[in-house]
Symmetry: C2
Subunit: 451 residues, 2 copies
């Protein structure tokens, strides 16, 4: 019985796919794992530093990527100009207890992206802890003159960590608006993370132009626990917060775009992509350095294995996903007007962990066709293809038949996300390279089979 | 369309399973992730130290487990006596270049389990590097008086790391026999690992009583690279190896066995298990401490959620998997003679990483029935159930309808396996606890649905 099942499986896969597709897919997996090129590139990229839009390091990284693509032998490499916001954290980020029994105690703090700074004296105020906006509204009279402390953690009981993140992130994106609405002078929040250490996890926040702008920052998870306990014991406790963050005028940056021309349908495009900017803590290894290099290595894999593709494989490293998505929007405008046909776009922006599946924004017949690729993709640890969100940047490519998000194991991503923890050594070479192989095989199948 | 698919799925799962099974499974996942009890137990267990059969720490750990099971409220806890081999590494493990340009350089070395030691002067001999036994046989005249160095690494191009391990492990298990056959005085080997550091990875080796017993040890991966280069440049290089390892007479130890009695069929048994012994480097966190605590927490989860089971859930912590499998054999003898019926046995011995699936040794109808559990198990990140090997210890339970191996993500396991790297901080709480939930739900379904 065992042999019968095995035989049926072999017949099934070979009847659907040519032997060269089966063989090339196996070669892609082996070469990706054996040579670990993307992982070694990540070492180089992380040495440049984090890549916040408009930062010196972001330009160095862009130059590095162009040179790397040229050295690989991409058929074309070009820089697509994009105007991006420029926000700078500066050198000063301090938070201390300025009144109360623990006077002088310092807390681990980082400004949220987009926050204003303070003057040299900083803001000094008592703290009002709330779990959510409803509680803030119910207790709105208390907020005036306070620093509002949003303390709701991620729901650790949820298996899909991205859902848990989604359930907590309103505190970061809208917290300063809601706090300012009721007269608060500042906003701090518990870091959104699954790692219970003291490195703050940041990310973009927003202001409402009709309300005062107040400084906004993330506290380390452990210091959030401390603060919560401390103000219960001593409600008169005051925090002093000093931040040097500021915004500058928008500045010119670039998407990096490189092609491997298709042999039969060069104007039909299959995109592999990630966003090249990162936050300015750590080095953006999982978010989204390694995923960019996975995309970049797809073309290197095809070239080093002498695999030609019917359709054009295009690698896009988007700029500015973190605080504006200007790169994604710009490419979307290009996609709207070009005569090229976008068959499909894959984005990898959930870290470089062991592959689990792909989530696809497409109609059900397209998804069904893609699911027929599973007998090939399973050998690269892809277990499923299902309907779901794709990626922020590629969502602007309206004409693509399928927008595809790469979905690796999500259990550890928020240990690192947007924090000083997101460094080179947080990425495991086999996990990253197996993901590269999965993405490369999917791009190759999309190119050869079409949609 | 999206809603239709969702509706069909709900109907499908609820038609197969009672609402209480669906609800209890969801509770198991949430409670396991939120409370992280097994992970906190692992912290305690690792503080005791590694648990090599017959070691002082192994007895302390057994006592600790008995107390923990009693405090959880297991219905019965008993110690099953098992005679186990006792091997002790001792304090002295040294390897140095004793002749050649690098004279005095030390290499990172650990004796393989079961190896004899050396006298105080150690063995001093030139080195013969081979990749496999065929090469050794071809060059057998060269082996006399040498230290044979087996240098074939794991095949990193393979996705299933356990297969790659299987392709390299003959060097460890039979290397000393084959080297001694041709007159070698010692054997060293490249560590079998996916982590390119210098901590040796050990494991059990064997002797053949009709051949001389020679000392056998693993070198760090990086020092294996060094040695390979060094003897190419200087074939007269000699190594000196001093090992204090020795074997003692077999000694009494125990399997720890605890039950949660079934309400309807108390004599029908569903086993959850791991092996409680470990190697003596690191603390055996992934191999197999965390998996033992996953098994132990299954009953804690059921009890704290007030979930009664129709069949008896039995947690077994086997002793001596690493160097003798005496615990597995002993329970197998018990299973042969008891009037209890063994429905199924689950063993977790592939680390505590994110769940992927279960491999099942059973006939195809049983596997098909188990696959019908997938709509429930998918919420605990189980993607598949398929035919495959189960676990070394449970393989002796001949009457069970299904022998089941838990299969988590295998990409990182051999970074830690049998080395000083296998410590508490190598285990991620969410990965471990999600695995606990997957195993608990499978055990619960096996209890309620039978096979």
């Amino acid at each position: 019985m065992r042999f019968l099942v095995f035989y049926i499986f072999l017949t099934f896969s070979s009847s659907l796919f040519s032997q060269s597709i089966i063989d090339n897919s196996a070669k892609i997996i082996r070469s990706s794992l054996e040579e670990s090129k993307g992982y070694e590139w990540l070492r180089e990229l992380c040495e440049i530093g984090p890549r916040l839009s408009g930062s010196e390091e972001s330009y160095k990284a862009i130059e590095w990527a162009v040179e790397k693509m040229k050295s690989i032998g991409y058929d074309t490499v070009w820089l697509q100009p994009v105007m991006v916001p420029k926000w700078v954290r500066g050198n000063r980020e301090e938070c201390s207890v300025s009144e109360g029994t623990d006077k002088g105690k310092t807390l681990s703090i980082n400004a949220l992206g987009g926050s204003i700074g303070t003057d040299d004296a900083g803001i000094t105020a008592p703290v009002m802890e709330v779990r959510n906006f409803a509680e803030l509204e119910n207790r709105k009279e208390e907020a005036k003159g306070k620093i509002v402390f949003f303390s709701r953690p991620m729901d650790k009981g949820l298996v899909p960590t991205f859902t848990a993140y989604g359930g907590a992130v309103d505190q970061r994106s809208r917290g300063a608006i809601e706090a300012a609405r009721y007269g608060a002078v500042g906003m701090v929040m518990r870091s959104i993370t699954t790692k219970y250490d003291n490195n703050p996890h940041v990310g973009q926040m927003r202001y409402n132009d009709s309300l005062p702008k107040i400084p906004a920052a993330a506290l380390g998870y452990l210091d959030s626990d401390y603060l919560s306990e401390a103000i219960k014991k001593d409600p008169s406790l005051k925090l002093n917060i000093k931040l040097s963050a500021r915004s500058y005028p928008d500045t010119l940056s670039y998407n990096v775009i490189g092609d491997l021309k298709g042999s039969d349908f060069p104007d039909e495009i299959v995109i592999v992509s990630g966003h090249f900017d990162s936050w300015d803590l750590g080095c953006g290894a999982h978010d989204d350095g390694a995923p960019c290099l996975q995309a970049m290595e797809v073309i290197d894999l095809l070239k080093r294995l002498n695999i030609s593709t019917k359709r054009t494989i295009r690698c896009i490293l988007y700029i500015n996903e973190e605080n504006g998505v200007m790169g994604g929007r710009e490419y979307g405008r290009y996609a709207d007007t070009t005569s090229e046909k976008h068959v499909a776009a894959i984005e990898s922006d959930r870290g470089a962990f062991t592959p689990l599946g792909f989530t696809v924004d497409a109609d059900s017949l397209i998804i069904k066709k893609m699911q027929s690729f599973l007998p090939i993709l399973e050998s690269a640890s892809i277990n499923w293809i299902k309907k779901g969100g794709s990626g922020v940047d590629i969502s602007f490519i309206k004409t693509a038949k399928a927008l595809i998000g790469y979905y690796p194991d999500p259990q550890r991503y928020f240990d690192f996300h947007h924090s000083a923890n997101d460094t080179f050594d947080a990425v495991h070479p086999r996990e990253m390279q197996l993901g590269t192989a999965a993405i490369a095989i999917l791009a190759y199948l999309l190119s050869e089979e079409g949609l």
